[in-house]
């Protein structure tokens, strides 16, 4: 069990981070597309965690969630601690992977044919119905690929995680941290094993995405307007 704990932790962290990024990413992307002013600025802020070194992101997260941080104080009053906990690992992975989901969703929404939305309105469909029945199916390929990238990024997250959540075996040590510890401790066999495991999981992710996009391309080809 102790041997498997980095895998379990990694998947827990990645799944939780992906879920949060998915919901937030879709929602925020939809709002940003509607923005008329400050679009570039807001977009820049939201994409920042992607381009900053993860250690810098981790540093900021420590500032925010640390004992003297803005949120850290409030959370401490509620008996919740983030630093050196699984929650911290999830937060770090979420912040770092969020821009991938957000950007993919935004791209998909922006490229979506607006006439279909207008058509939905003229025939009396509600905005919610248009979103779920028309926009989401049309944006599915972009959103799914964003989802897979987000998951892969969260799974491999290292820098921000080690800053905020530390590297505590059995508690916050995910696979990428386990590799670091194994290499640092001179344990070659263990590091090889984790490298192989991570590669397998990542490859499976990409394979899944390609399979899926090939399938949607096929249905999309049947769905394009051919006269």
């Amino acid at each position: 069990m102790e041997l498997l704990s980095p895998i379990v932790l990694s998947i827990e962290v990645a799944a939780a981070a992906t879920s949060v990024s998915f919901i937030l990413g879709l929602y925020i992307a939809k709002q940003v597309v509607k923005l008329r002013r400050m679009k570039a600025f807001v977009d820049g802020i939201l994409t920042l965690p992607l381009v900053l070194p993860p250690t810098v992101v981790g540093f900021f997260l420590l500032l925010i969630f640390g004992r003297n941080g803005l949120l850290g104080n409030m959370l401490a009053a509620m008996q919740v601690s983030v630093v050196f906990t699984l929650t911290g690992a999830i937060i770090a992975a979420t912040v770092v992977s969020f821009p991938l989901m957000y950007r993919s969703a935004r791209g998909a929404f922006e490229q979506f044919d607006r006439e279909l939305i207008y058509a939905g309105r003229t025939i009396g469909m509600s905005e919610a119905r248009i979103f779920w029945r028309v926009i989401m199916p049309g944006c599915k390929p972009g959103i799914i690929s964003g989802l897979v990238l987000t998951f892969a990024r969260a799974l491999g997250e290292f820098g921000a995680t080690i800053m905020l959540a530390g590297n505590i075996p059995g508690k916050t040590q995910t696979m990428s941290l386990a590799i670091y510890s194994a290499v640092a401790g001179g344990n070659r066999e263990k590091s090889y094993m984790w490298v192989v495991v991570i590669m397998l999981i990542s490859f499976a992710c990409m394979l899944l995405m390609n399979l899926f996009s090939a399938r949607t391309r096929k249905t999309a080809a049947g769905g394009t307007v051919t006269i």
């Binding site: 309105r121 080809a221 307007v225």
Partner: protein, 367 residues
């Protein structure tokens, strides 16, 4: 059953300023691309919001800037046929139509299938838009639009993306459907032939500004303005001023013309359609000019051939009156005749001189 719109909208340098009213029948909004036709339809449908104005449909106010009324699209009961039909690609024909129907799922399915059956589409009911032909797509889009029982129908250049054969077929289908529709239909197009064939009334748009609504026949036979004459297909224009009860002086052509109709004081331009200009013969100088046949002595002028373009069955020649200033914008006159007639003239070449006759009854007097 009346649709009235009076809207203004500024978009950068472009200003839309449209006013029209229609009750039943097909009203064509005719204008070149970029004249604001589609924008007008989008304002009526509530997809775009005008800066000011009022839109009313069957006594319901859809938009009124003064009273701050702006009904959302879905409550306007406006049927909109998009240029590329805007069918939902992830839904079958039936599901597309169901999306516009109301009631329980079973009820909506029944309504949708009934509508598809009435459009001869039952065989395609489970097909996706990408699997349908252009004609079937148009009919599915129409079915989807009609199932919501709209109070008016707006068509945004539904035929312009099609090749000519399919276009003809779909145009006839459209007309058949709208002849039986007793509510106002607004048809946007840049194609004057479509307007002539399809519409009852026409409203010309130029640079965002609408002219008065006129019966289609009048607009083609008796255009009143330069813009209307241009868009009705007239190719030859000259600035003009009145010189007599039935005489005008065409400034660009440097000619004085007889006109059958009484010339109004405010005439600013004249127009002559290409087919109304008859080329008589190659002139051999004025002294040797042979008399023209029939009554035609009026309005005969010597012109120089500037350019000859041969088409499959006819010849188009650009000519200019010999007295005209070649730098003038409208100096060139375009004439068109069938190959045989051109050859009978002796197949004149560029820089030859020919005599033309402009029929006094065919001169359009424009404001």
């Amino acid at each position: 059953m009346t649709l009235s719109a009076c809207i203004k909208k500024k978009l950068g340098k472009f200003t839309l300023d449209v006013k029209f009213e229609t009750s039943g029948g097909i009203l064509a909004l005719l204008g070149a691309s970029g004249s604001g036709k589609s924008m007008t339809l989008k304002c009526i449908a509530g997809i775009e919001t005008p800066d000011e104005g009022r839109i009313e449909l069957d006594g319901r106010v859809l938009f009124d800037s003064a009273k701050r009324i702006n009904l959302p699209t879905r409550e306007r009961k406006v049927g909109y046929l998009f240029q590329h039909y805007a069918l939902f690609p992830n839904m079958t024909a039936t599901e597309n139509v169901m999306a516009a129907a109301r009631g329980s799922r079973a009820e909506r399915r029944r309504i949708a299938e009934e509508k598809l059956a009435s459009m001869y589409l039952l065989d395609s009911k489970n097909k996706y838009p990408g699997q349908l032909s252009g004609g079937q797509q148009q009919r599915v889009a129409l079915a989807r639009m009609l199932v919501g029982e709209p109070a008016t129908i707006l068509l945004d250049e539904p035929l312009s993306a099609l090749d000519s054969y399919l276009k003809w077929q779909l145009e006839m289908e459209l007309v058949e459907i709208f002849r039986g529709f007793d509510k106002p239909v607004v048809y946007v197009t840049h194609n004057r032939n479509e307007v002539y064939r399809i519409s009852d009334d026409v409203c010309v748009l130029e640079h965002g500004k609408s002219e008065n609504v006129v019966p289609t026949q009048d607009m083609f036979l008796k255009p009143r303005t330069l813009a209307a004459a241009l868009i009705s297909g007239c190719k030859n224009f000259s600035r003009a001023r009145k010189t007599g009860e039935h005489r005008v002086f065409a400034e660009d052509w440097n000619l004085e013309l007889d006109v059958a109709a009484a010339v109004p004081e405010e005439v600013k331009h004249i127009g002559v359609r290409s087919h109304a200009i008859k080329a008589a013969h190659i002139s051999r100088g004025l002294s040797q000019k042979e008399p023209l046949p029939g009554d035609a002595h009026a309005n005969v002028f010597a012109c120089r051939i500037d350019k000859i373009v041969r088409e499959m069955f006819s010849v188009i020649a650009m000519i200019s009156p010999e007295g005209a200033d070649p730098g003038s914008k409208h100096a060139a006159i375009r004439i068109k005749m069938v190959n045989d007639k051109w050859d009978a003239l002796g197949d004149p070449a560029v820089s030859f001189s020919i005599d033309i006759r402009i029929d006094p009854a065919e001169v359009l007097l424009l404001e």
